[in-house]
């Protein structure tokens, strides 16, 4: 397991509401939902790239959801995606191998936390 994954809080549930400066539950639920939908699709495509060793597309896909991951408070995911983007740009296959091995599990953990948080918001 890399430092990227362990050293950073996986999901900061306060991050998004604090950054937009408002506890607008409906809007927060919409944003988390958008993120889950988008990130799931992109990660799925990244796994295909991994098999096809398409580094360039892999880097572009990582870039695509890096900032939104950070925006919703999925900091560890943002950092891992940044590392993947960098390794893809450098065509560093061994680093990519490590990062891409971690990605599905980290995504699953974070998505679960976000879904739980959505349920908390909806019931509040």
């Amino acid at each position: 397991m890399t430092e990227l994954k362990t050293a950073i809080l996986q999901f900061d549930e306060k991050f998004l509401s604090e950054s937009i400066g408002m506890e607008d539950v409906e809007f927060l639920v919409e944003l988390y939902g958008l993120y889950l939908e988008q990130a799931s699709k992109v990660i799925e495509s990244m796994m295909v790239c991994r098999v096809e060793r398409d580094f360039e597309y892999l880097g572009q896909l990582s870039h695509k959801i890096k900032s939104s991951s950070r925006s919703v408070g999925a900091i560890a995911m943002g950092n891992l995606l940044e590392a993947i983007e960098r390794a893809a740009r450098d065509k560093n296959a061994s680093e990519l191998q490590v990062y891409l091995h971690e990605l599905p599990q980290l995504a699953e953990d974070i998505f679960e936390k976000i879904e739980n948080h959505i349920n908390v918001l909806k019931s509040s």
Binding site: I20, G21, F27, L31, L34, Q60, L61, K64, S67
Partner: protein, 250 residues
Amino acid sequence: MTAGEFFVTRKTIAIVDDDPVFARILAYRLKRYQFFCESYNTATDALVRLGRHPTPDIVLLDYSLGPKEKNGLDLCLRIKTMAEVPVIMLTGNDNTQTIVSCLDAGADQYVLKPYVLEELLARIRAVIRLYEKKEGVGSESDFGDFKLNTLEQNLSTSEGSVRLTDKEMAFAELMLNALGSVVSREYLYRVIYEREFDSLSRNLDVLAGRFRQKVASVTKDFSIKSVRGKGYMMYRRPFNTEERSFDSDD
């Protein structure tokens, strides 16, 4: 020009970014500062929109529009051939090559991601101001009994004219757009001072008092009143009503 600068008519911003989460958050934040926002996640959608009139007042364009999309630079070049609209590029790279490529593609400004809202707002104002001066538009707005001129910074009626400060202009525009309705203190404060509402600050009350006096210098038919616990309202005085009889609680 101060942070309180404003525009007489609400401006429309087109946000073009392949990241819908980022675009929604940005739109949400800008709307709180009195902008209309439209979001487009693909170059194709953005181009369709820019082909229609009226065009947005400004485009905020992501440098990297995603793997299968025309990149932001190409789109910027295309936009510039289609419409006289200012473009601010949003980029995650601060290297010279990226910045030069943005400007060479015709971008009027660039802002680094993650952006600082105050800086982005300042750059938006700067480019809109330049375009309005260039086109000679946006200088005067007609609110019926009042005219507000942004270039000369004055408020006029058939009885006279008075010069306003930047913040008084912002206050005037917000009040005139909502004539007869209450505008909340929180909203006024956030838009005029461009920061979150500070309930302890008396700045807004001082500003409202000053603006009320200036309105009184150009007309006896209208005034401003404070509505306790809610905000401020500009209203037409009832016929034969004594001066300040409605200005009850501030």
